[in-house]
């Protein structure tokens, strides 16, 4: 049995590509070595997403953007293809690694999804790591937020909404381990200057994240509302199940469906039960890469 790993770091027009390339390569290399030494897909997707959260270059964890109140509100989810078990958090503040909190929800509660202060309270009880606001408040994020406040716009990550294509920042990982088990995880810092406790697709099981050993593992990045309305993760899975598609065929077909039904913008990474991989996006680019026993490939 071989193993496969894919990660993504957001879709859209990408600036400063070399920063993303270096970081993506590092995370893939680490995840690959863990899979090679027998770590489960579930542990590896958690580890990879936590590494991406720790890197301020992405809009997740440390690099999360600021909401309209100048706070960080993060969402994350993780799912195991073995038993469809899942954990998810939305609207959590000051948690260093939301994906680890999602994993704790999966393992240590009877629930799948916890939100807001309640989710953080649960995290404290289970000794998840918290950071002060200083940790999250990079100069770049502060400047971006002040700018957004001035024109009172909701941004999707880095770039003014006036630009034709906005960077849609989210991170994610999908993996198939040496036992053939699948897992997926997704994490995001949401929208710049967002209001009203908006939640995107990242913490929604079946939308921004999905894993089922009978089909495939999926993580998405893009305009979250469109991915919720089309239940993208499950849509990819059912292309594999009912149309007998490979990961790549299912990824392409799902993005075509996204565009046809809701004019959706974004991308997905997929590893299927047979160890095929696929990626597809309707944005101009998507930061992503893959790794297996042969090596590591970084793509946009």
């Amino acid at each position: 049995m071989t193993f496969q790993l894919m990660i993504h770091g957001g879709a859209g027009a990408i600036h400063q590509k070399q920063d993303y390339f270096q970081s993506t390569f590092k995370v893939l290399t680490e995840g690959r070595s863990r899979l090679e030494s027998g770590m489960s897909a579930l542990d590896v997707v958690e580890l990879c997403v936590a590494m991406l959260e720790d890197d301020a270059v992405y809009n997740a964890g440390r690099g999360s953007v600021l909401n309209a109140k100048g706070q960080i509100e993060m969402d994350a989810a993780i799912m195991s293809g073995v038993d469809l078990n899942a954990g998810s958090v939305a609207g959590v503040q000051l948690v260093k690694n939301p994906v680890r909190l999602a994993r704790l929800v999966m393992e240590k509660s009877e629930h799948v999804m916890l939100i807001g202060e309640g989710a953080c309270e649960f995290g404290k009880l289970h000794k998840v790591e918290f950071e002060s606001m200083d940790y999250f408040m990079t100069e770049k994020r502060k400047a971006q937020w002040l700018d957004a406040q001035q024109c009172d716009k909701v941004y999707i990550d880095h770039i003014s909404v006036d630009e034709a294509e906005r960077k849609l920042g989210t991170v994610g990982a999908v993996a198939r381990d040496l036992h053939g088990n699948l897992a997926a995880a997704t994490s995001t810092g949401g929208l710049v200057n967002k209001k009203f406790g908006r939640v995107g697709d990242s913490p929604i099981i079946g939308a921004g994240v999905f894993a089922d050993n009978e089909t495939c593992a999926v993580s998405a990045t893009g305009y979250g509302e469109q991915f919720i309305r089309t239940t993208m993760g499950k849509t990819v899975s059912e292309f594999v199940r009912y149309k007998g598609m490979t990961a790549q065929e299912a990824a392409d077909e799902a993005i075509a469906y996204l565009v046809r039904t809701v004019q959706g913008v974004g991308g997905i990474i997929v590893v299927d039960k047979n160890g095929n991989w696929g990626s597809s996006f309707s944005s101009s680019e998507m930061i992503h890469g893959r790794a297996d026993s042969q090596g590591v490939v970084v793509l946009t």
Copy 2:
């Protein structure tokens, strides 16, 4: 073209059946007359779920159970099969009709899902109705909560978890209007004595609620975590799409899938694009009923 309407009021062992029967009959009769006079499926499912929310007999809206802090936290969602547009709220307090707030999110925001205080703030901006705690705090709910606090148990609606089967309270409606358009809505008051901002399947598009004119409309009630993990709404839809099943065949197959994969307990109501209806449940009973131009039928 004919029209179809189904509603449900929760799954599990049902006590005081006559109360539910009377209420279910009233809501179906009202919804039926609206569909007959040309109201859209979307408006009718909103109306029916709002009527169910107003009736204190159900665990949704007025009859919502109390969380661990003695508060009401409600979740609701609505979806249109015409364009896959959807609105959803989770963890909202003192909103008279969460389903109407979900509809406002769908119509008046760029977003699909809003949570907590932010969702309520959005509701205030759009003049949604709020009620004082007195409105929600029935004697029955207060007694139930005090009892739950004493044994520190999380209840699912009315009945002690010691009992073999718990009542799984949620309300929902699915409809197909004279134009053949489909819609679905679901609303719940969550779990008695719940902690940590737990969110179930009701506000999750593709889980507790789903509508697609290409397939069917679905509303679910049951143990929410199991319905999220199996993305039940979308699962039913894909049985119609890929296996060519009718609403009843798809409902039965989906509940079999729920039981096989996660030993799930609960039920679903379904109306398909051809105007067939279906319902199925793995709980001992489910309060539900249906109406069309022929009349009204109340079932458990």
